[in-house]
């Protein structure tokens, strides 16, 4: 599964994207955030306030309780500020 990061999530993690291979116990977006947060300080900082992190699976907005099974691309980003 490919993870992509945008805006300050990208800056805090220090990369634009990466391949992820989470263990089977990671089933939801929320699980994935918890799992990533434990990796290092950058991830922990990016996800320090998980409630405000927005996520998309295969370019569709999803909530944190969405299941990640079958996802090809999962995106993490701050609240959008377009327009």
């Amino acid at each position: 599964m490919r993870a992509v990061y945008f805006a300050w999530v990208r800056e805090r993690i220090g990369k634009t994207d990466e391949e992820l291979a989470p263990p089977e116990s990671v089933v939801s977006v929320a699980d994935l955030i918890t799992w990533l947060s434990a990796r290092d300080e950058g991830y922990a900082y990016a996800f320090e306030n998980p409630d405000i992190i927005r996520t998309a699976i295969d370019q569709n907005h999803v909530q944190h309780d969405a299941l990640i099974a079958g996802a090809r691309e999962i995106a993490f980003f701050p609240p959008m500020t377009g327009g």
């Binding site: 992509v4 945008f6 805006a7 300050w8 998309a56 370019q59 569709n60 907005h61 995106a75 980003f77 701050p78 609240p79 959008m80 500020t81 377009g82 327009g83």
Partner: protein, 156 residues
Amino acid sequence: MPASPKIHIAIQQEDFDVAAQVAALTQGRTDIGAVVTFTGLCRDEAGTLSALELEHYPGMAEAEIARVVQDAQTRWPLMGVTAIHRYGKIAPGEQIVLVIATSSHRVAAFEAAEFLMDYLKSRAPFWKKDHRKDGAQGQWVDAREEDEKALGRWEG
């Protein structure tokens, strides 16, 4: 039977020409009664801002705007919709975003344009970073609670 609406969606670095975009929707037609355009410009924040930097999620940005345009078409009888959003570095006074809605009557055109802008603000995957004239590090713009609330009027 009405012709299907003319839709143009673009995510681009280069500037856009509002008049040309309006002409593309209206030229040669005599059934349009109302054209509403919204153009969002980069403000200099009382002289403190040197540029905005706009990051986007390629692919999803186009897809998300297409979904919102589709939704607008089911809500209002629209003859055409244009939505253009720029990315990259944008200087004060420059254009950032354009929405055009055409319809036979004004209420549909106004409401559709407002709806599209409300969704672009809070649902399209774009992020703005301020670059300051004083050289301080760029700051990501915080989402405004009013923008999130603005969506409420279109729900339920």
